[in-house]
């Protein structure tokens, strides 16, 4: 009886010993492999890139086809709304024409980049996961960590977070670990500048935070990069305020925002390669 019990305990101890040895061996193998992770990942990416790019393009075209098919019913209502919005916009145009500086700031940001002497490298999107994009250019194309990523309209997507030889990862501004300094684009130049931060919420969404309670922000206000921390060039388009949340007990106000970038509709982006912090 005692012998059987001892045998059982020994067997149990043996199992735990095997698990422990197995874990140590596994961790050691992983530790060694991590010294070669960059070239391994690069080979993996080179193999996958053509297929993934094809899948991405297929996704873009098929989703826009199905999207238009399913949205056909709501087109009539949308048309009516657009007509009303158009009339509103026409009246606003008259007011906007007098603010030439404002118009200049809101014009195509790509021109701003070119005026600032930024050079751009066009990159293709090949994947998205957890608000991280993978793009088809890497250190071999002059990409390095921290470089801002925009689209052709000058809408900010994020910055390069990891670079490999032939591909890179981009941390989107909607990533939960992303914080971007922004300012609220003021219609009136006489008003003081309102600064805040856009914090990622994940799933391609973000919110505006750290706006002083005394500052006035409104629905529809445009957010652009402020370049306070020099991570991004100033005046890149970020998003639009959709709902503000003001609480007198809180020293700062927050707001829900609609980010301007549309990852799923984009095929190509631009990396600003010579932005000096």
């Amino acid at each position: 009886m005692n012998g059987a019990k001892n045998f059982y305990i020994n067997k149990k101890k043996n199992n735990w010993f095997k698990i422990l040895i197995g874990t140590i061996v596994l961790l050691f193998c992983l530790w060694v492999l991590n010294f070669f992770v960059a070239p391994i990942k690069n080979i993996f990416y080179n193999l996958s890139s053509p297929i993934q790019k094809t899948f991405w393009s297929a996704g873009v075209s098929s989703s826009s086809f199905f999207g238009s098919l399913f949205n056909g019913v709501s087109l009539f209502r949308e048309n009516e709304n657009l007509k009303q919005e158009n009339q509103k916009l026409l009246s606003q145009i008259v007011a906007l024409q007098s603010i030439t500086q404002e118009n200049q700031a809101k014009s195509d940001v790509l021109t701003v980049c070119q005026n600032n002497g930024f050079s751009l490298v066009m990159v293709g999107i090949s994947g998205l996961d957890n608000d991280n994009l993978s793009i088809n250019k890497g250190s071999a194309d002059g990409i390095s960590e921290g470089m801002p990523v925009i689209n052709q309209q000058g809408v900010l997507f994020g910055k390069i977070s990891k670079v490999y030889k032939n591909f890179s990862h981009v941390i989107l501004i909607s990533n939960k670990n992303s914080i971007t300094n922004v300012k609220v684009q003021q219609a009136d130049n006489m008003m003081s500048e309102v600064n805040g931060v856009v914090k990622g919420k994940g799933a391609l969404t973000a919110y505006l935070d750290l706006i002083p309670i005394s500052s006035e922000i409104n629905y529809g206000d445009i957010l652009v990069t402020s370049a306070i921390d020099k991570s991004f060039p100033k005046d890149l388009l970020v998003g639009k305020i959709t709902k503000k949340e003001k609480n007198d007990q809180n020293p700062f106000q927050q707001a829900e925002i609609n980010l301007f970038f549309n990852v799923t509709a984009s095929d190509n982006l631009f990396v600003i390669t010579d932005y000096k912090k």
Binding site: I40, G59, D129
Partner: protein, 167 residues
């Protein structure tokens, strides 16, 4: 055995490419289904061979790590932990010979998926944390439901395959 593993490797590879590219465009709130996790769970749920299951964990984990993480290892370890927990639970519940009821599968999938998500989030937070964030929000719930739908469909397919095998 080798042929089977090669086919499964190809499936994992195809699924990882699909979920990172094509399925993004059909995602809910920017979320694509985690096909790799679903396939891995289905494989280990229906298989009792420990070595085979370990190989699945290494294949799926390696591909995920190569695809997204900066280091090799986290996904492999997560999958091995999930495998260990699932097999412990299955042996504790001891429901093996009644054809795996759906509710049994669904409950185990939910728990495993939540544990997997928490491990991934904690890892991301530990390696690249600028701010602490809330994980149990509405999107987390949607992600669970969305993945459960795909897993249920996968369960139905696996059951059909099991049925054909038995015949």
């Amino acid at each position: 055995m080798f042929k089977k593993l090669l086919i499964i490797l190809l499936f994992f590879y195809l699924f990882i490419l699909l979920q990172n590219s094509f399925l993004i465009h059909y995602g809910l709130f920017g979320l694509a289904p985690d096909l790799v996790f679903i396939l891995f769970f289905l494989l280990i749920f229906f298989s009792s061979k420990i070595l085979e299951n370990l190989i699945y964990a290494v294949i799926a984990g390696t591909l995920l790590d190569l695809s997204w993480y900066n280091y090799l290892g986290p996904s492999i370890i997560f999958f091995i932990i999930i495998l260990f927990l699932l097999k412990k639970t299955q042996s504790a519940l001891n429901i093996k010979k009644d054809g795996y009821p759906f509710t049994y599968f669904f409950t185990l999938f939910l728990f495993s998926f939540i544990i997997y998500q928490i491990m991934s989030i904690v890892y991301l937070w530990l390696t690249d944390a600028n701010n602490l964030f809330i994980i149990f929000n509405i999107k987390f719930l949607i992600e669970i439901i969305y993945n459960s739908l795909f897993a249920s469909f996968g369960f139905w397919i696996f059951k059909k395959i099991e049925h054909v095998k038995r015949i």
